[in-house]
Amino acid sequence: MNIMTPVKPPMPARAKSLSVEGLSKSYCNINVLSDLNLRVEPGEVISIVGPSGAGKTTLLRCLSGLMPPTSGGVKVGDEQVREPVAEIGLVFQDYRGSMLPWMRAVENVAFPLQGKGVPKAERLARAHACLADVGLPGVGERYPWQMSGGMQQRVAIARAIAYDAHILLMDEPFGSLDAQTRFDLEDLVLSLRKQLAISIVVVTHDIDEAVYLADRVIVLSGHPATVIDNVDIELGANRDQITTKADPRFAQYRSRILEQIRRPPAA
């Protein structure tokens, strides 16, 4: 599929695909998503873009099992997703709301492991290690209010990794951060996907971010929303903020996607 990245990291045996088959979702009688089909291969990173109100958050909530689709289904491997599953980790845009303010960073990361029955010493050790992996060594003892937004979002990513999620779903994860912090976190996501061979689905408003992060960009549009384009991004596995974004192919992808989003839905 992605011929420009021959050096793919080895896929662990546990990795599973995420697939969406004929998914539709209506709120009351308003049809938001209609007959979506989508497959995320193990280790693949895809971005989902689309105009505001298209139904991206709705799609992500259906993928995560937080919300049942009206019809059709979501599968992780061969298993139907009805409720949140252990394979999926979620990162929300609202990092303030997703941290438990009465817990230190390390406790926040370790908390889902407690639910899994991991013994205390082990889960704390794992939480500290994951915090180091996301570039936050030594801040485990801080409370959320003692951390910047970027740091809190790193903690949220560490929590998903510690939970051993190998499918990471992120809903506009860097939307409320400043540009520099956003670039740093984008690079963190790229380095994690290389290290850990996890699949990542990122919903974003930012087309540059979508292209920069992904192997594939899905464009959602229309009322009800459907997949109107599926763009393979062939920019290689080694990307960086300056040269990748200066690549002429980057500009081509960018304008192709932008055109799709701005084109009025076919009458």
């Binding site: 409720e83 999926i88 929300f92 709301g97 303010p101 908390f111 639910g115 409370y143 209010w145």
Partner: protein, 275 residues
Amino acid sequence: MMLCDEPGIGRFRSEGDAEMGEGFRLFIWQGGVVLFLVAIWALGNATGLIDMAILPPVQIVGYQIAAVLVRPEFAAAMGHTIFDALRGLLIGSILAIPAGILIGMFPAVERATRMLIDFGRSFPVIALLPILVLLFGATSEMKVVAIAIACFFPVLIQTISGARRLDRTIVDTIRSYRIPAHLRFFKVLLPAAGPYISTGLRIATTVSILVSVGVEIVSLTPGIGREISLARSYNETPTAFAYIFFAGLLGVFLTFLWDRLEARLLGWHLRSTAE
């Protein structure tokens, strides 16, 4: 790193010096208001506008406050009132907090119990007293039961609103990480409702003293209230006022203690909402 200011949880105090000055000024003001009211009282007595039989002169009440302090029955009465109030408070809250969280956890339960709770919150416990006396006699146990019932509702109501006001993203987070029910209860809902529970307990603390003294006045069970009642019946009005003064002081003291405890337990909350 970027943030060097890391005050330990619970040692929440704003700016050291500014706080001291602020606190001192507040103290002066509060003292001033008290002095002003005492002055009006003295003036009322002096001019004969206030009937001595209803409100005895300031200096006599002041003298009695000191005199009552050294009486042996004072310490015993104080002890009974505090001990029973705290027992009732403890029993009431131990029942109310888990019940409140469970009710707040399930919207259907909340709807089903709402009317009952509205009924209970506005129901005067004193009206139950004849029945309680019938059941338990005029005993300390009866008093503790009355206090527990009175404390139950404010704590319950606050706990329910705390447990219901859980941030939506937190709800999604704990669902997506499949946090099991017992952890949801102890590690999420209980701390999330903490600030509300604390408010409930503060209200209930005052209620516990009020009801304790009230029940003692009516049923003559041992405590400050009984001393007030007896002093009145012996026509020792100044002594009654002295005891009333101490009952009030008790409330002030417990509120003060509660403030300190709250800062210690809920430092995270005060800090994260400080901005």
